[in-house]
Every structure is written in structure tokens, then in C-alpha cells.
């Protein structure tokens, strides 16, 4: 049986950033006189950072596949926003159809870049740098340098809407749906944890002690339901949060549990070995970039909806935010190491820093300096702790 000490020792690095996120949150909670964690601000935080969270997921896969980054995601997002604006505002197309076309164009862009990167083996850095310029240019050309606005209500809902409260009334100001969703997720979590434990026991593996196991479950349940309560206390579940939740779950599952997910890690860990193990590494790399462009398209739609405009200036520096999130979240710059959840935590650390400092009225100049420093320290911590583990 594993004791609490073992569990802690084996997972310090994994949880370090999560603990850092909590510490930073508490820190700003105090400095902002409790504004940071007000229900309204927590909802805001999610909405503000939605596009970074989405991009960080895709970027994680790119970095995993061999330390490649995608510099074009900001421009691609802007371009997709411009396409959406042209289709919906200028051509009065149906919102659903327009979104579908936007996602298809995103995939097409991925095929274009993936072809150069995976089959011609032009370094991803260069292909996407070219993409960054090209799609920015296309965006400006398509919008003729002007901002298109406003989008119809239905489109704005993607980023501004909330899941309607089906159990409204009862005379309480809480959003019952949000609480219900929290409860349902809790139940599913508990069932899965017990199933996993039973399975491990069946194979005769070491498991953590029962009290520790219960303690862990209770901690997670408190976390989930507290968050649900916080959302319920404001307007309920943002639509965008549901979308992000699904994406995080799907991509986490994909990278950690599935065979193609393994292939990405294997390729980043040692491409030659992966090839000799029967993995078609070209295909893996190709789909990584197709996926990245697809998610960039999603982020572009989300951002356009939030801005309620298609702007030629949209998406500038998005790629840097996403890359920073991945590295803060523990991804290795050489590939093969990193997790989707890690990158999400990295993105949230950046998000809380942004939000907290903005509330405190810190100027954007200081914000940049502090964010840069945090990135450096986080990665340095990671590298140094790895070196110590090796020695």
C-alpha cells in the first residue's frame, strides 16, 4: 500500500503547477480584496481566457510531437474570424452553416501546413512563421483593413451565452442547472475512481490506502462542487465553458489513453525508435498540425463571438500565450513530455496573473514583465527539478 509520503513524492512535479495556481489565486484574492474569486469574476476569467485554453490544447500536441510549435495560430484565428464575419455579416449566411464552413477552412489550412511540415519536412517553425505572415495578410485583405461588426445575437451567444436554467424559480438566486451538472460530474468521477481501484486490485497492483483514497475523492468533489456553486451564484454555466470542458476531456483522454495519443508521445520521445516500431511518424505529425489548425479555427470563432467583431488585429500574440501556457504547464521543449491538463493549468496561471493584475490596476508594461518572469521561473524550476531527479 502506498502511503501519503509516496504519493506526494511521486507526484510533486505533476502537482507543483497546480499548487502554484492555487497559491497565486489566494495571493491575488488577498491583494484584490476578494474581487478575484467573486462569482462574476470567476466566470469572467473563464470567458476571457477561453481562446488561450483552446489553443493550448492543440499546441500541447504540437510540442509533444517533437518540440515543434505552431506560430501561425494567432493569424489563423484572425483569418477564420474574418471568414465568419464575411459570411455572416456581409453575406447573411446562417450561423450554423457559417461555423461549419469556418471549421472546414481551418482543417484545410491544417492540411496545407501539415503537408509542408510532415511530408516535405520543412521545419514547423518556418512553415508556421510563413503561415503567420500569410494568414495575417489574407485577413487584412479579406477585411480590407476594416473591422466588421456586429454579429447577430445567435453568434455572440457562443462566447457570451449561458446554459439556460431549466429548473429556474424555486425562489433562490442560484442556478440549479450548474449545480446539477456539478453533481452529475461528481457521481461519474466517484464511479470511475472506484472502478479503477477495483481493476488495479484485480491485477494485484499496489494501491493507495483506503482513507487516503477517500480523502482524495472528497478533495476533488469539494473542488468540482465549489466551482459549480461559484458559477451558479452568477449566471450559471457559460456555453463556452461546456465547450472547453468537452475539449479538455476529449483531448486528455486521447493523449493519455488511446493508441494514436501514444504515438504522438513516442514520436516526440524518439522519432527513429517510433518509426522502427511501426509508427507512421509522417502521418502523426500531419494530423497534429491539421488538429492544431482546426482548434485555431475554433478559437477564432470563439474570439470573434466574444469581440462581437471580425477585426484585422484579432489574434495577435495568441500563439505566444498558448506556447507559454504549455511550457509553464510542464511540456518539454524537446517533445515527448507534457500533458493537456498541465497546459490548461499553465494557461490558467497566466489568466489569473492577467486578471489579478488588471484588477489591481497594474499597467500592461509591468504585466508583461511579470508574465515573462513567471514563464522563465516555471520552466527553470522544471528543468532543475529534472536534473536533480537524474543525479
Amino acid at each position: 500500500m502506498q502511503t501519503i509520503k509516496d504519493v506526494f513524492k511521486n507526484n510533486v512535479r505533476q502537482y507543483a503547477m497546480f499548487i502554484a495556481l492555487i497559491v497565486i489565486s489566494i495571493f491575488f484574492q488577498i491583494l484584490t480584496d476578494g474581487i478575484l474569486l467573486l462569482p462574476q469574476n470567476v466566470t469572467n476569467l473563464v470567458l476571457q481566457n477561453s481562446y488561450v485554453l483552446i489553443l493550448a490544447i492543440g499546441m500541447t500536441l504540437c510540442i509533444l510531437s517533437g518540440g515543434n510549435i505552431d506560430l501561425s495560430v494567432g493569424s489563423v484565428s484572425a483569418f477564420i474570424g474574418a471568414v465568419a464575419g464575411t459570411l455572416i455579416i456581409n453575406m447573411k449566411m446562417d450561423v450554423g452553416l457559417a461555423i461549419f464552413i469556418c471549421l472546414l477552412i481551418g482543417i484545410a489550412i491544417g492540411v496545407w501546413q501539415g503537408f509542408w511540415i510532415a511530408y516535405l519536412r520543412i521545419p514547423a517553425f518556418i512553415v508556421t512563421l510563413a503561415g503567420m505572415l500569410m494568414f495575417r495578410g489574407l485577413t487584412i485583405a479579406m477585411l480590407k483593413g476594416l473591422t466588421l461588426s456586429p454579429f447577430p445575437e445567435k453568434f455572440q451567444q457562443i462566447s457570451a451565452g449561458f446554459i439556460p436554467d431549466m429548473f429556474g424559480g424555486f425562489g433562490i438566486s442560484l442556478n440549479i442547472t450548474a449545480l446539477m451538472v456539478g453533481a452529475i460530474i461528481s457521481v461519474i468521477y466517484v464511479i470511475f475512481q472506484f472502478k479503477k481501484r477495483a481493476e488495479q486490485k484485480r491485477y494485484g497492483f499496489e494501491v493507495i490506502t483506503m482513507p487516503l483514497f477517500i480523502m482524495k475523492i472528497i478533495l476533488v468533489l469539494i473542488g468540482i462542487n465549489l466551482f459549480a456553486y461559484w458559477l451558479a451564484a452568477y449566471k450559471g454555466l457559460p456555453i463556452i465553458l461546456v465547450l472547453i470542458g468537452i475539449l479538455v476531456f476529449v483531448y486528455s483522454f486521447f493523449t493519455t489513453k488511446t493508441v494514436p495519443g501514444r504515438y504522438i508521445y513516442a514520436m516526440g520521445g524518439n522519432e527513429k525508435a517510433a518509426k522502427l516500431s511501426g509508427i507512421n511518424t509522417n502521418k502523426v505529425l500531419f494530423f497534429t498540425y491539421v488538429n492544431m489548425a482546426f482548434l485555431a479555427a475554433v478559437a477564432g470563432i470563439v474570439f470573434a463571438a466574444r469581440l462581437n467583431a471580425a477585426s484585422p488585429q484579432a489574434g495577435i500574440n495568441f500563439e505566444l500565450d498558448a506556447i507559454a501556457a504549455c511550457f509553464i504547464g510542464g511540456a518539454s521543449a524537446y517533445g515527448g513530455i507534457g500533458t493537456v491538463t498541465g497546459s490548461i493549468i499553465g494557461a490558467l496561471v497566466m489568466g489569473v496573473l492577467n486578471n489579478g493584475m488588471s484588477i489591481m490596476g497594474v499597467g500592461s508594461d509591468m504585466q508583461m514583465i511579470i508574465k515573462g518572469f513567471v514563464l522563465l521561473v516555471a520552466v527553470a524550476f522544471d528543468v532543475l527539478s529534472k536534473n536533480r531527479a537524474r543525479a
Partner: protein, 552 residues
């Protein structure tokens, strides 16, 4: 024009000055040795006394004493993890003074090294197994790397190239000093390393496995160079797994085991043999270096016919010429060939066309012709190829043991593309037990394992893929004697289970000790096929020599 002439003259004068200065130094040196030689019967250039080095949880070195005589070649042998490299790292200052206990005396003076720079200044230079050369710089630049011929910050290129040429001549390297290091072979790169050491006025040269990556000819050259340098009075510590080389050049041999010195043998006094050294290294008598096997050889299961392969980059260059081989069930077939004979290229081209272009020929398994266009197809058709280069092409060193073992056959432990991770651990544990992989758990990173255990993980991966035909490319390279024996046992077991094994090796004893039949390969061709009874060192060499004659 006249300006150039003048510059040239000035340079020539300077060169003569430098050279005569060198000779003066050398003369002094000889005198010094002679005087001392009269004074004392035996003079030690290096004495390491009671060296103990602790790592968290491990005593890497335990009271080690090492005495090296001036002008001798002193071999350091021992299994992987015996402490050879640690000892040399202590000596060269990689582990600075104070991180170990004990003392080091060099030329009678106690040494307090804070880093490599200190030890190099004293005249101790270590050449590591992984060469420390910059591939994109020239030979000359590499020789004086970190030791530039320069006045203040300005590099004197003429001096650099002249002196480089001089040093290259001394180590027998016939190349232009301006040639880039990446354009010369590993054998020559090793010579550049030695020239680099000479440029630092080395007195004690430490070589860590210098011939591990060299073919026989280059190894031979290198060993002869060491003997030459010995005549010039340079002392040498040689770390090597290849005992025949050790016996050839070494004057004394120190055997390490588990961080302790077992004994130091003097080749000129003691009765030294490979068996004695192995006994010292392993700690027990290895009566048989190759385990016994009961032979149950069946029908021909796998055949390659008229196999031709062209070089992937150089147009029109044929690498494999009309190779045909066959293997029976339960048979271990050897392919003997030196590095560059085309054996690895042949194996990889068969394994799903992993190497080469315009591949032609037939692959027949169980009487049916196969078309293997990708590694995946090869695996699915029951082939496995265990690479010779386990670190860069075999394992994912940053991943743990279980993920490495499952990598080639993830489909066997997954349902609807979802990996059953518990099953994965279970499988890994099973192989850990079966193949005796020494590790803290199957969650340990493969990069932290010793060479022998890494090889076992690699073998596990391919055994788990459940192939009928296993191609093993140099399965015991860089592995110590004890682990080799275990690997041989695993190979024998595979053959006994009815698998067909193709064993590629450049070690003759291994080929002779393990194989039922041997193909001899040279220059991309099969130049001989010998039965177990016919095969011997002489008959195999005869095949190669005959083939060279035929070509000429």
C-alpha cells in the same frame, strides 16, 4: 605579391622556432626521465589512494587504489557499473575535489582539481566514449577547440592550420586540416580527439571505450597509435570491454568490480589470460561463455531471394547486391560482417523497407511471398528487428519501461484504440521477471538503466510483438560479460520456442558460439555460407579474403 611572400617567410621562421622549441622541450623531458629512472626502479606518474565516492544510496567507489607507471598503457576493466567511469571522472575533475574522499598524486604532487580545466592544465586529458567534437567545424578548429592559437582575441589561422597538420601527422591522420569533422569517419574522428589531447601537451591520456564504435581496421590503427605514443613517453589509461585489445596493448590491467579493485595484473610478470580477467570482473568462473541449447530445427520458414538495395541518397550506388538467405524454424542463423559490410542495411531494408531505395527481390515466409512496404506490415507478418543502436533508434529513453515494451504492439493491449494501462503494467512486469530486468519498477525511465538492462527492455518489446522471425542486430554491443550471457540465454530460449533467429554480429566468438549456420557478408554481398561444423575463425576470414581477391 611581395607582401604575401614576406608574410609567408615570417611564418616559416616562426614555425621553425616553434618546432625547435618543441624539440628542446622533448629533450629536457627525456633527460628528466633518465635521471629519475636511475634514481628509482619504478616511478608512478599517478597514484590514486583510497578513493571513495558516494552517490545517494550507492557507494560507487569503495577505497580504490590505482597506481599507474610512467609511460605504460594501463587498462581498466570491469562490468558496466563497476565504477570505471566514476573513477576516471574523479581523476579528471568532473567530480571536483571534496566530493570524494581519498587523494590523488600526479607526478608526485597532490592534485586538487576543481574542474576539467585544472586536470587538463596538469596534463591529464580524458577522451570520452561520446566524442566531444563539433561536427560542423574543421579538423584544425576542433584540435584547438578551447585552446585556440590566438593572440588576445584574434585567432591566428595560419598557425592553427600549420600546427594542426603537424599534430595530425603525428597521429597518422591523412586529411586536410580544413576538412569538416562531419565529413570524416568515426575512426578518423577518434584520431582528431587524440590530436586534440596532444595539443594540450598531454602527459596522461585516458581513453574511455575508444574502439567501441570502430571497425577492426580502425581499431587496429588506434591501438598501434597508442603503442607509438607510449614510445613518446605518453602514459595511457585505457577503458575497454574488448579483452583481446586489452591483452594486446596493456602493460598492466586493473580489474574493478562493484566499486572495488579486485586486482592489478602486470602483463610482464603475472600469468594473464582472458579467462582470468573475466573471472575477476564477474566474480565467478564463467566456464562457458555461451549457454547450452537443445537444437530442434524445423522447416525453412523465412527466405529472402535476390535482394538488391540502392543507397537512399547517392544515386546509382548499390548497397546490397543479390543477397539470398534462408532461416529454419528454431534455427539461429548468423550474419557475420564488419561495420559497413551492409548487414544492417540488409536487415533494415527487409524490415518494411526502413532503409534504401529501389529495393527489389522476394521475401518468402512459409512458402508464401510477402510484400512488406512498411514497418507496420513487417510486424504484422511476424517480423521483428532489434536495432544495433538501442539508444538512438531502439528505445524512448525519456519514457518508462512499460511504455517502451508495449510500443510496437499497442494493438495487443488495446480495445477500440483505447490502451488498457493495467494490462500494460501487467505485461511489463511479466517480462521484467522473465528476462530478469533489474529496475526499481516498470515505471522507471529506460534512460536510467544500464546498457544490459536497456537491451533486455528492447528485446522484451520485440518478443511481446510475438514475431516468428527475429532479426537481432549486434544484440550484445557495449554490454558487459555477465549481461551478455543472460542475453544469449534469452536468444536460445527464443530458438527453442521455435522462432527463427537471425543474429547479426561483428564479434566472431559470438557468431561461432551461438549460430547453427553462418552467412559471411562483405561489401553488400554474401560471400560464404558455413555450417556449424565448418565455421571457424579461419574459414570465415578466408571467405572474406577470397571475396576481396575476386573483386580485385
Amino acid at each position: 605579391m611581395s607582401v604575401y611572400l614576406q608574410a609567408g617567410q615570417a611564418l616559416a621562421v616562426r614555425l621553425v622556432n616553434i618546432m625547435s622549441y618543441r624539440f628542446l622541450l622533448l629533450g629536457d623531458h627525456i633527460n628528466y626521465i633518465m635521471i629519475l629512472g636511475v634514481d628509482r626502479a619504478v616511478e608512478y606518474i599517478l597514484e590514486m589512494r583510497n578513493i571513495t565516492k558516494l552517490f545517494p544510496g550507492v557507494k560507487a567507489l569503495d577505497n580504490v587504489n590505482l597506481k599507474v607507471r610512467k609511460g605504460e598503457i594501463h587498462a581498466l576493466v570491469g562490468e558496466n557499473g563497476a565504477g570505471k567511469s566514476t573513477l576516471m571522472n574523479v581523476l579528471s575533475g568532473v567530480y571536483p575535489y571534496g566530493t570524494y574522499s581519498g587523494s590523488i598524486f600526479f607526478e608526485g604532487k597532490e592534485c586538487i582539481f576543481k574542474g576539467i580545466k585544472d586536470s587538463e592544465r596538469t596534463g591529464i586529458v580524458i577522451i570520452h566514449q561520446e566524442l566531444a567534437l563539433v561536427p560542423s567545424l574543421s579538423i584544425g578548429e576542433n584540435i584547438f577547440l578551447g585552446n585556440e592559437r590566438a593572440k588576445r582575441w584574434l585567432i591566428n589561422w595560419n598557425q592553427t592550420h600549420m600546427q594542426a597538420a603537424e599534430l595530425m601527422k603525428r597521429v597518422g591522420l591523412r586529411e586536410n586540416p580544413a576538412t569538416l569533422v562531419k565529413d570524416i569517419g568515426v575512426g578518423k574522428q577518434q584520431l582528431v580527439e587524440i590530436a586534440k589531447a596532444l595539443a594540450k601537451n598531454v602527459k596522461l591520456l585516458i581513453l574511455d571505450e575508444p574502439t567501441a564504435a570502430l571497425n577492426e581496421e580502425d581499431s587496429e590503427n588506434l591501438l598501434n597509435l597508442l603503442l607509438e605514443l607510449k614510445k613518446d613517453g605518453i602514459t595511457c589509461i585505457l577503458i575497454s570491454h574488448k579483452l583481446n585489445e586489452v591483452l594486446k596493448v596493456a602493460d598492466s590491467i586493473t580489474i574493478l568490480r562493484d566499486g572495488r579493485v579486485v586486482e592489478t595484473l602486470d602483463k610482464h610478470k603475472d600469468d594473464v589470460s582472458e579467462d582470468r580477467i573475466i573471472k575477476g570482473m564477474v566474480g565467478r568462473e564463467l566456464t562457458n561463455r555461451f549457454p547450452e541449447r537443445t537444437r530442434k530445427i524445423g522447416e525453412v520458414i523465412f527466405e529472402v531471394r535476390n535482394w538488391n538495395v540502392y543507397h537512399p541518397l547517392i544515386e546509382g550506388r548499390k548497397v546490397i547486391k543479390d543477397v539470398s538467405i534462408k532461416v529454419r524454424k528454431g534455427e539461429i542463423v548468423g550474419i557475420y560482417g564488419l561495420m559497413g559490410s551492409g548487414r544492417t542495411e540488409f536487415a533494415m531494408s527487409v524490415f518494411g523497407k526502413s532503409y534504401g531505395k529501389h529495393i527489389s527481390g522476394q521475401i518468402i515466409k512459409n512458402g508464401r511471398e510477402l510484400v512488406l512496404n512498411s514497418v507496420r506490415q513487417a510486424i504484422e507478418n511476424g517480423l521483428a528487428y532489434v536495432t544495433e543502436d538501442r539508444k538512438s533508434a531502439g528505445l524512448i529513453l525519456i519514457d518508462d519501461i512499460k511504455r517502451n515494451i508495449s510500443l510496437a504492439s499497442l494493438n495487443n493491449i488495446s480495445k477500440n484504440l483505447v490502451v488498457d494501462e493495467n494490462r500494460e503494467i501487467y505485461v511489463a512486469e511479466e517480462y521484467r521477471r522473465k528476462l530478469n530486468i533489474k529496475c526499481s519498477s516498470v515505471l522507471q525511465k529506460t534512460g536510467n538503466l544500464s546498457g544490459g538492462n536497456q537491451q533486455k527492455v528492447l528485446l522484451s518489446k520485440w518478443i511481446f510483438a510475438n514475431p516468428d522471425i527475429l532479426i537481432l542486430d549486434e544484440p550484445t554491443r557495449g554490454i558487459d560479460v555477465g549481461a551478455k550471457y543472460e542475453i544469449y540465454k534469452i536468444i536460445n530460449n527464443l530458438a527453442e520456442e521455435g522462432k527463427a533467429v537471425i543474429l547479426i554480429s561483428s564479434e566472431l566468438p559470438e557468431i561461432l558460439g551461438m549460430c547453427d549456420r553462418v552467412y559471411v557478408m562483405n561489401e553488400g554481398m554474401i560471400v560464404g555460407e558455413l555450417d556449424r561444423e565448418e565455421a571457424s575463425q579461419e574459414s570465415i576470414m578466408k571467405c572474406i579474403i577470397q571475396s576481396i581477391k575476386e573483386v580485385v
